[in-house]
Subunit: 342 residues, 2 copies
């Protein structure tokens, strides 16, 4: 693997941005020169990478001239504004925002699932919604076991999905409540300490919030199942990082046997089965926090349907749900010879 | 209403036990003499009721001689051991444990839903599982709007469902984690602070835990729909009190219109609709905590099914899910003339 790429991270100071640096390190990602970019608010601050301090620069149209690969994690508006310049400057762009995910000519890839969707000319790679990725990681290995017709999903989403500010809000409020003080919402409209609430994104005409809409449509695109029926309820819970999902998967015709399902999941790359009924030990967000695998358990028949199974999933929102999936895309592009140091 | 009943509370020092005393007071329940009973561990302690200290006695076979009405909230084993003596002594028994709920000759009533199940000779009234009650409070008003075929339910259950000890565990662990110390599980097998996990009750041969099994079978009994199909996943979340439920209700044939559903719920006794899409304001466990009503919102079509709706529910586990439902049964028995002071 060549080893001297110039890599840019836009949104370096955010919750996902910081994970990029850790993963570059733990994965021995071939970073030669690292440019850390952020908004003016963070300019001049420093972050440490491989024991060296790196000064954060303001992200702007001219930031990408010598960049081989640029990771974006600074929100959809910033991605929309900057990615055209980065592409023009010749950088491959991997974008954690929702800006370009659903554009028909843009691939939406989870490397373990649908790498074949990548065309030789593709240079922009959005990373899907964290919940959609974590869900699809477990649904995709079941695609060959029968015709999946419908997913019924309720989520238990952590603070990390709202970034560093929301994680801090959960911590600050919880501390206050334990001291007998009121929980004062700042980032969120509602108290978060020891509370949970419907995902805080705008609701559309059908009564679904933006997060739910992303899960429906992005899952269809990742799984390459445009007609997949998806019922989804997204809920924010007072957990620091890692999202959990309660999912029921309905098959047309007969459902695969539980042992077949367990076996398919146990052999799926990036998936870890934790399903010990005797010990009542199933995936929790703490198990998944800091882990690269998506955990799955509670694998059982849905007794209310002739051919459905129910499962419970936990995956690190900041890793497989965001930064890890982005780095994996870059690693795969390098492996495919799409990035060279010339 | 007569006003001088001798009332016993077994399990007076527990999380539900303490709610009984508050509700007796706020409901002006006709308590003449109040006997507080508990295990030997609590004997000799005092609780205050209507500004008077009451000494806690050890609950035993002889505790019920002069008791008109006895509330039990000390676990199934204690109920099984003591209720036969209480009945023999002539007390009407209202039991918050699971001991007798599914016995065919015993009614399982939520007064707003199925009071007609009570026969004149009934003297034992189990209170259903908290999650089943909260769920049924919202499903029952929809029974007349179409043929309900299947419920698909994922829960977000609070610490209070595990009693005072579990609430304390959540608080103690959260405090420790915020101080940078490890979360030390004592009551629960797994860390609870900023974490969630599959309900900590034994798993049966079908892969369902006891809580889920109760929700399936008790809901059928309360709703008087023995063939109702129920898919349920019970999850414990780090919330102090009040359970939340994500539910999808499938109808056979056409589903009722959303306005019809909203209207039926708005007019249902004990139900409060909180469903403001524009303000993104839906039920949370904090809204429901300390409230007698069960809250419902996120009322929308399930876009993955031709005739289903999805909703989100929050209800106080200690109140409508336990102590309040018990007191309401007693109030109704008094109103029906089943309890007199002679």
């Amino acid at each position: 693997m060549p080893s001297n790429f110039t890599v840019a991270v836009v949104g370096a100071t955010g919750a996902v941005g910081r994970e990029f640096l850790k993963i570059f390190d733990s994965h021995k990602f071939p970073v030669g020169n690292l440019k850390l970019l952020a908004s003016e608010r963070s300019a001049g601050k420093q972050l440490t990478f491989r024991d060296e301090p790196i000064c954060i620069e303001v992200a702007g149209p001219d930031s990408f001239d010598d960049v081989d690969i640029a990771f974006f994690s600074a929100g959809a508006a910033r991605s929309r504004a900057l990615i055209p310049f980065a592409l023009k400057a010749g950088a491959l762009c991997i974008d954690n925002s929702s800006a370009f995910r659903m554009e028909s000519e843009v691939p939406l890839v989870v490397p373990e699932i649908n790498w074949s969707a990548v065309k030789p000319e593709d240079r922009l790679f959005p990373v899907a919604n964290c919940t959609a990725i974590i869900l699809c990681m477990v649904v995709a290995p079941l695609k060959n076991l029968g015709k999946i017709e419908r997913l019924i999903v309720s989520t238990y989403q952590s603070a990390s999905g709202g970034g560093a500010a929301m994680m801090e809000e959960l911590e600050t409020q919880t501390r206050a409540v334990l001291e007998g003080k009121p929980a004062e919402p700042k980032v969120l409209p509602q108290p978060y300490a020891f509370n949970l609430f419907s995902h805080n994104t705008p609701i559309n005409e059908f009564g679904y919030n933006e997060e739910e809409w992303k899960v429906i449509h992005e899952s269809r695109k990742i799984l390459e199942m445009p007609d997949l029926k998806v019922n989804v309820t997204c809920v924010r819970v007072p957990v620091m990082r890692a999202h959990s999902i309660s999912a029921t998967i309905e098959f047309a015709g007969e459902a695969p046997g539980l042992e077949v399902v367990r076996n398919a999941l146990a052999h799926a790359n990036g998936v870890k089965v934790m399903d010990d009924r005797a010990a009542n030990r199933f995936p929790t967000p703490l198990d998944a926090s800091g882990k690269e695998e998506v955990f799955v358990g509670r694998i059982r028949r849905d007794l209310s349907h002739p051919s459905a199974i129910s499962i419970f999933i936990a995956g690190d929102q900041l890793l497989k749900g965001a930064a890890l999936n982005a780095v994996q895309i870059a690693e795969r592009l390098i492996k495919d010879g799409r990035l060279t140091t010339e």
